[in-house]
Symmetry: C2
Subunit: 530 residues, 2 copies
């Protein structure tokens, strides 16, 4: 029997732990159902079992595996777990609030869209050979019919190839068998669409260098996507695959920096209003489809966050802000807010928010209906421009903070975020692949959560990281902590609806729909044999 001294000690200890965790979103809520508590236990048991049976086993393909390890190396292992396949992938995720439209569809699916369209062509700077694979990026674009090459044009690996356009399908078919033939072609092209393990862990293994590769993935894929017929299919694919992953609402950051997309003829430039119409059309179409199938609960809709790049002058920014306001007037439901996007080349060279303080302050005064949703603090810096952006994001009245990776260094800003309920869009896999953290156990998420700051998990650029949906991000968070459990993930999903830019009525409907799906999910998990 423990002594009185020890009994007292254990009492004090219990109270201290409770005090320490009192601000956490999963501790604030007290009225968990019996089924929720049971489901949480089941998930903890599965996690504990697989920490040994899956992550505790040395393997040839992945040295030293452990829960929360670098995603690009872990992905195949994650897919083998019950925790992923039976739990996390089935969970209703709520809203996806931080995702960039031009990195939202799996590389393979985008390549298939490109291969299926006759206007899409490819070129490289001369005959492609074995040594090109590591160094040459494909130039892939839609070109107008009158510029199609002659029917007998050679493939890009042919010794007589001189650098002209080749239909992508043909380039694939004629790809030198010595380089792997069509499969070799796909492998090379796909490796230019995504960040590969060798990029993240060898060639570009620092937070500065990895942006060289990251930027190049957009340079390769943007011209394919910004073409009306592919744009439409790309968006369909993004929304459908998101719904399949349990995401029921999307706020997608769309880049308005480039002022046109290409029409079906691959020649005519159409303005970005056309792009908004495509978003509206695809969203309505998918909502109608789901309604017809009695699946309305699965999708509450999609909004756009207007995004430009932090390389423009303050004057150009004013023009951008005007365009955003005009679009908001014409498409009030579609535009969620103004995201003052950024451009990060070689480290942190984009302009800091303070550079745009004047036009942003004016805009906030004139358009209180269009909230700011800034990126800020996506950095390892302490007192650097990207870190200091946190002060400006908050002073300028941001509704949420994109990333906020360095927020934990700022006690006063954390207090403000907690009090004003400024949610942090935490992007675990993005942060890790882009080398802000080397693994999930090193990620600052627990610090933010324990300070009582609302968190929404986001995927950022899932196509670049090969981390489609939200399941992988939820998984990495779940395995990297003994405190976090299924109920924590559930609260984060709720918060992704609470802190969305949906109007109050739609928000309530989306929440009710989510709760119905959550109850069903919890019942299934609670009934599982761990």
């Amino acid at each position: 029997m423990p002594s009185q001294m020890l009994t007292d000690y254990l009492q004090k200890r219990k109270k201290l732990i409770a005090d320490d965790r009192a601000l956490r979103v999963d501790h604030v809520r007290a009225n968990y159902t019996a089924a929720e508590l049971k489901a949480d236990e089941v998930v903890r048991a599965i996690r504990a079992r697989e920490a040994e049976s899956v992550w505790g086993v040395e393997r040839e393909d992945v040295p030293h595996p452990y829960p929360g390890m670098e995603f690009l190396n872990a992905k195949d292992i994650i897919l083998e777990t019950d925790l992923y396949s039976k739990i996390v992938s089935k969970m209703p995720k709520g809203g996806l609030l931080h995702v960039h439209q031009n990195a939202s569809v799996e590389a393979r699916a985008l390549l298939d869209l490109a291969l299926a369209h006759p206007a899409i062509h490819i070129r490289v700077p001369g005959p492609f050979n074995a040594s090109s694979r590591e160094t040459v990026l494909p130039d892939i674009q839609p070109i107008p019919a009158e510029r199609y090459p002659a029917a007998d044009a050679v493939g890009i690996t042919d010794a007589s190839y001189t650098g002209g356009w080749v239909p992508i399908k043909k380039a694939q078919e004629l790809f030198d068998p010595a380089l792997g033939g069509p499969a070799g072609f796909d492998k090379w092209v796909l490796s230019s669409f995504v960040i590969n393990p060798s990029d993240a862990f060898r060639t570009y293994n620092t937070p500065m260098k990895i942006w060289l590769k990251f930027g190049s993935t957009f340079a390769v894929t943007d011209p394919i996507i910004r073409f009306v017929p592919i744009q439409k299919e790309y968006l369909r694919s993004f929304v459908r695959s998101s719904i399949k992953d349990g995401i029921s609402y999307i706020e997608v950051r769309t880049n308005f920096f480039t002022k046109h997309i290409l029409a079906e003829d691959a020649k005519t430039k159409v303005g970005l209003r056309e792009l908004l119409l495509i978003f509206q059309e695809v969203t309505n179409e998918i909502k109608a489809e789901l309604k017809a199938e009695g699946r309305e609960d699965e999708f509450a809709g999609l909004k756009i966050i207007y995004n430009t790049l932090r390389i423009v002058s303050p004057e150009v920014l004013e023009a951008e802000l005007d365009q955003c306001a005009r679009f908001k007037q014409e498409f009030p439901d579609l535009i969620a807010g103004k995201f003052h996007g950024f451009y990060w080349s070689h480290g942190e060279e984009s302009k800091p928010l303070i550079y745009y303080a004047e036009p942003l302050l004016h805009f906030a005064e004139q358009h209180p209906d269009i909230p700011f949703l800034f990126h800020a603090g996506e950095t390892l810096g302490d007192g650097t421009a990207a870190d200091m952006n946190l002060y400006d994001a908050i002073l300028l009245g941001t509704k949420r903070i994109g990333h906020g990776f360095s927020l934990i260094k700022h006690p006063k800003l954390m207090e403000i975020c907690r009090e004003k309920k400024i949610a942090i869009e935490v992007c675990p896999i993005s942060n890790e692949v882009l080398r802000l953290t080397s693994s999930m156990p090193m990620h600052p998420l627990p610090v933010i959560m324990n300070q009582g700051i609302p968190v929404v998990l986001s995927s950022d650029d899932p196509a670049s990281f090969n981390s489609m949906g939200l399941s992988f991000d939820f998984f990495q968070v779940l395995v990297a902590s003994e405190v976090t459990g299924l109920l924590t993930l559930g609260q984060m999903a709720r918060d992704s609806i609470t802190y969305s830019m949906l109007d109050e009525r739609s928000k309530q409907e989306a929440m009710e729909a989510w709760e119905r799906r959550w109850d069903k999910f919890i019942e299934e998990v609670a009934g599982m044999n761990p």
Copy 2:
């Protein structure tokens, strides 16, 4: 001219930044001298210049260098910088409060001690060849004269070698020239004394695996050190090299788990009281030396933190605590406190503090004069046993926390540490080499500092990390932040005296001596051309 709107904004911004940093040790102090402010500027200018001229340059030996990068790869670059050679290495550091005695002398110096003593012998499990280099650990021990091998015994690389003891000097001389001869011998032995880059970044590149290698360095060196004549020289070397690095006071964690050391005859086991006498003798000897040279300001003394391993039973711990109390009675000035040491094999398998709550509570009640100085939170875990140790360390009344790496996840505990002035012994390079963080910019130190929690920088096991002194740790901290400057390092040095276990009078003397040296140092830096 800025608008009124912008002027107001900049005003608010300035206040917010000041509020956010209000708790920092370098902001709390207001009365910096003009020379201090000038010196801080000089250091910031040198750091900014070298961020480009040194760290911004690609090099063949170190791919992608950057300030605060992994120490084992960065060391040669650090040594090339003015920031290191002209500033940080010259700075008076104050106290070294967290260092393990058996990893306190540079590997090369220890090997030289071993080579110089005729009793030290080496053996390996059979003829040593090229393939052994990667897999075989040397067994090096003092042996008594009657067991010395015959004068014509062969070397360990000889085909006829059968695994017996060979004098280490002879083994070095006879080492196969094809394996590099004597230099090859040294290289192999030294690589078993330290963690090499290939260990940290390849073979054992996770927080769990690296402890296999870390543990093996102690297994190899402990038998050499725990031998009276070498022990004495080892301690002299540690204290002298520390003083040379600007350290003026030491609290050294000494392991009392093994109950004896070997006497000069390499046969007789002497008790640990003998070890304490050696500490006393060497400390007094060096103090006398310095006094004779008019250099009293450079060394305030050394204390021992009694350390055992967290693998014993609570009953054995009680006996340990008794021994600690007896030693404290006999050597009141020498014993600084009771460090309830830990043993971390393969991750986090040592016993948690809560396992020993009962004897520790009793001891605290009976011996209020012997403070606890616990290791706690040296982990990436969130809610794991090592993380939970933070609750117990604080509830049991620890005066400082060793590592506290996971403290930032605990808002209530941070509040307690701030209010009760529980200093955190932060070991930057140790944390990084042992893979809790991948680089200094990822380290949680700024979070702890900005919360107003006292910090003392420490080297932990400098021999294992090849990071002798405190200069490297100070350097890594200085280059990884734009907020931290020379005055921040100065405040941390002051805190290392404030939070030492010196009695009040000695503390005041040590502080005054430090201030004299600081003023002189500041004057020199302020006069430099950045």
